[in-house]
Amino acid sequence: MTFSLTMSPSDLLLLLPEILLTCWLCVVLIVDFSFPRLPKEQLAYLSIAGLVGTLGCLAWFDISGISGTLFANMFVVDRMALFFKMFVVGATILVILASMEFVHRFKFFRGEYYFLVVMSALGMMFMASANDLLSVFVTLEFSTFGFYVLVSYLREDVASNEAGLKFFILGVFAAGLLAYGISLVYGETGKLVFSDMKSAQATPGLIIGFLLIFGALGFKIGAVPFHSWIPDTYHGSPTPVTAFLSIAPKGAAFAILLRMFFVALATFKPTWVLLLVAASILSMTYGNIVAIAQKNIKRLLAYSGIAQVGNVLIGLAAGTKMGNDAILFYLLTYLFANLGAFAIVIAVSQAIGSEEIDDYSGLGRRSPFLAFSMLIFLLSLAGVPPLAGFIGKLYIFVAAIKEGLYTLITVGLINIVISMYYYLIVVKKMYITEPHDPSPLAVSGPMKAVVYIGLAGTLIIGVYPQPVIDWVVAATMMFSDLAGPAAALPTVPPVVSSGG
């Protein structure tokens, strides 16, 4: 395979958001080194400015319909890639806002923290565009690299170090699986680009190869049985990093999963649907049941995150365009509710220095604003109407019912009830239990901004989801060939003929 390294200006244009962010990253680093006395808040705002610029650039691409491929199909820019890039950048902005106060807990390298966060975001933007197995490997490792450092950023804290070590060892293991899987697939097919693999035969090597790749991506999204790193890592990491880890890499990894399953493996759909159904059922059930017993809010959100990924996998298992729309939509609702909930965890831990659910007692009295927002976020995660989470779940379930995945739906529904139980435990603590210490809590400005954005997203998407639905439907247009046969051949038993 030969790469042509001549790039025209129009090729460079496709890379513009990434180039922009890379340059900005250098600016942030240089400013940090050149002005050591500069308050680190300024660096945060500087990073946010760059991210907002990138977001604007991505939005411009999306609106004006700029798309194409680069580097012999390794890098693709289409509306789905743009969706996930905006998703990642949006999440990063919120995470940086939520970190600004927390950063004071770090004894060293406060400036580099922002650099590392934005660098991971850059890696994930590349992930969203990865279109062949090599770029999958490179971008995945690129984005994880920043996280290895971020997770153990609290250097004095044993839990954080433990989290970092666990994440690193398992992460490297997953990278090994990925590399091995890629080598098998390449050995069997001689191809690297997803779209070239359409006609591949199901040889044992290919199957094992893809299973290994799925394992590595499953590690990224935290689906059972590749979840074992999640609870400890989430628990030990600095909370803003946990928040970042719980949403952005999942989004980027789903971009790769969607491309892999629907482009490279489209012909094997009946087989991989079973795999996904199993992973989905295990994730939902395991995540929800274990979450009940948690005493620490970060661990609770970690397990609830595993369960939520199970929900998203329902959409993937549906294997239709509608299922993919639902995945994108669901991830977006999850972004707002989950980051909102983590923002409140950060705010509370900043104020009272604890992340135990017990210490949320009487939050309703101590800070009505935080408690009410948490209520909204938890209810959205549980899927209570008319919040965004409900529409997301409905969308996914309708897509799955249409494909007749009744077992999966039944398990999913029972899991909703289970999840309601532990979300209500937190609600009960906040509103019913008397506070140990009734003094009001102070919330910083940037934190309020994150919570307000989360609330706005959760409520607006819940009440008026149509524009977002239009957006995700347009973003997955590349899968419209999946919608064709599904719409023409009704999957439910045909209705009784009405005469004529």
């Binding site: 209810l379 209570v384 109407p385 008319p386 409900f390 529409i391 409905l394 969308y395 379930f397 309708v398 019912i401 249409k402 739906i409 039944t410 529904l413 029972i414 909703i416 009830v417 309601m420 139980y421 209500l424 009960k428 509103y431 019913i432 008026y464 989801p465 149509q466 639905i469 239009d470 439907v473 719409a487 023409a488 009704p490 999957t491 439910v492 038993p493 045909p494 209705v495 009784v496 009405s498 005469g499 004529g500």
Partner: protein, 549 residues
């Protein structure tokens, strides 16, 4: 397809969101008296709006009236579609009426966090209104689920019992369990519509709209599956025996105001008559479904009555009597004839006055003795003659004495049930007898006979606010009991349409529709029907199969 009457002013939206807006306004006040007065004003204005709807409602018509429809999420076929017809209009009035009474009752019985309580109560009113006026199944589901949030807080924060935390969680989880199954049923209806629409090239590819779903045939095996899924949702909420175990806990542990709403507004059985029976007529008629549901209903009647007989606590007694009465409603509904349906609908309204009224009485008793246990009472009539009188009147209505509202409803149900099968009727009648027994027995022990040890002379009769509650309930009870015609006229048209729908079934309905449409698309026709009826032309009154007075 039912006709639709549009109104120029979005009265139902006002009705729906006024209490919620009111709750938001309450947030601004700090003074407790101010909060109470405002809550009362808001609920009274809401009642006035509801009465306006009732007065402007065209009786004897099957048409959907005061229709408001806006596309909400077109991609999934979800719309914001509100309307009332003969089935739902009375519930709208009942909800507004009961909320006013609950606000009055809570005036001095709620002593802490009054503002939050009133806000929850008004939010609850919005959600229950939403359940009654939504024609889109997802919109309906939204309100159905949202109800849980204020209910949870009401039971948990203002409940009197020690087990209130358990009761609140049990209520939420049970209802949620039922409603997730219902959601699958709803989604299946949507998918069925989708495949029909794809085959017949309709404009909309997905729809959750009741009226659009009614126009689509559903194969019998699917209907039965959907029926049972939706049945679970409604049965948990109603609650139908054997899904009733949360009810005694919630009613006993929760505050009286919540008990009034839970026991007075029969949301679950409303769901049957609003959605299950019209959407799934063939399934509702199928022998297995009818016999299973009938057996559950009859079991509820007998079981509830017997359990009520042995309860020493008045609120528990009322909870089981509620289960028994719901059995009546279910039996009447699944007799699937005109009298049965009409009687059930009327009984649902009646229970809103009588059962809810008895809960108010229980509240009056509780205010006086801090308990509703039998042991705390005895010979009360001596010191509280007014309380005893109203207690008797409302109680007699609940057991269906002629001249009260309970009689009309129960009589129609029994008539319908006997028409369906004599055996069903015969078993149902035993419930009436046991019902009289448990009420009168309790009444005799509590109110008459020797004065109990715990009863002091200074116990105090009804004061003004309590009088207002008791009197307004009594007026409604006697009005419906002596002159039910206006109420029956309101529901007749829709009940008749429902009976026709049951006779013809889904497939036949579609056939005739198509002939009438003469080649036009289904959608087109609906729009025309809506437009032509926009002037609110009263429909010809239908002949009433049952002569009223």
């Amino acid at each position: 397809m039912l006709e639709q009457l549009q109104s120029t002013f979005p009265i139902l939206s006002c009705l729906l969101f006024f209490p919620l807006a009111g709750a938001a306004v309450l947030w601004l006040f700090d003074d407790e008296d101010m909060v109470r007065t405002s809550a009362l004003t808001i609920s009274l204005v809401e009642l006035a709006l509801a009465i306006f709807v009732l007065v402007r409602f065209v009786p004897d018509s099957a048409a959907m009236q005061f229709v408001e429809q806006v596309r909400w999420i077109p991609a999934l076929g979800i719309s914001y579609h509100l309307a009332v017809d003969g089935i739902s209009v009375l519930f709208v009035g009942l909800t507004a009426f009961l909320t006013v009474l609950v606000v009055i009752y809570s005036w001095d019985t709620i002593r802490h966090q009054t503002k939050l309580y009133m806000m929850s109560l008004l939010a609850l009113e919005t959600t229950t209104m939403g359940v009654f006026v939504s024609l889109d199944l997802i919109l309906f589901f939204v309100f159905w689920e949202l109800m849980l949030i204020p209910s949870y807080f009401l039971i948990k924060l203002w409940g009197g019992g020690a087990e209130r935390h358990y009761a609140a969680l049990k209520y939420v989880l049970y209802t949620l369990l039922g409603s997730v199954f219902m959601l699958v049923g709803i989604a299946l209806l949507d998918i069925n519509y989708h495949s029909y629409a794809a085959l017949h090239h309709l404009d909309t590819s997905y729809s959750f709209d009741l009226l659009e779903l009614l126009a689509v045939p559903i194969p019998l095996n699917q209907q039965i599956l959907i029926f049972w899924l939706m049945f679970l949702g409604f049965a948990f909420k109603a609650p139908v025996f054997p899904f009733h175990t949360w009810l005694p806990d919630a009613l006993l542990e929760g505050p009286i105001g919540m008990a009034v709403v839970l026991a007075g507004l029969k949301l679950g059985t409303f769901g049957f008559i609003r959605f299950s029976i019209p959407l799934l007529p063939e399934a509702s008629k199928s022998p297995t479904v009818v016999s299973v549901v009938m057996v559950l209903g009859l079991a509820a009647i007998v079981y509830g009555a017997i359990m009520a007989l042995i309860q020493p606590d008045f609120r528990r007694l009322l909870a089981y009597s509620s289960v028994s009465h719901l059995g009546f409603v279910v039996v009447g509904l699944f007799a699937l004839n005109y009298q049965g349906l009409q009687g059930s609908l009327l009984t649902m309204i009646n229970l809103g006055f009588s059962t809810a009224g008895l809960f108010f009485i229980a509240g009056f008793l509780y205010t006086r003795q801090q308990t509703t246990q039998m042991a705390a009472f005895g010979g009360m009539a001596k010191y509280t003659p007014l309380l005893a009188t109203f207690f008797l009147l409302i109680g007699l209505a609940s057991i269906g004495l002629p001249g009260t509202n309970g009689f009309v409803g129960e009589f129609l149900i029994l008539l319908g049930t006997f028409k369906a099968h004599w055996l069903y009727g015969a078993i149902a009648v035993t419930g009436v007898i046991t019902g009289a027994a448990y009420f009168l027995w309790y009444y005799e022990r509590a109110m008459l006979g020797p004065v109990g040890k715990a009863v002091r002379e200074s116990i105090g009769d009804l004061h003004l606010r309590e009088m207002v509650i008791a009197l307004s309930l009594s007026i409604m009870i006697l009005w419906i009991g002596l002159y039910p015609a206006p109420f029956l006229h309101m529901m007749n048209g829709s009940v008749q349409a429902l009976v026709d729908r049951l006779d013809r079934g889904t497939v036949a309905t579609v056939d005739t529709e198509r002939q009438e449409a003469g080649g036009q698309g289904q959608e087109e026709k609906d729009r025309q029907a809506g437009d032509s009826a926009a002037g609110a032309v009263p429909l010809a009154a239908r002949p009433l199969p049952l002569a009223v007075n």
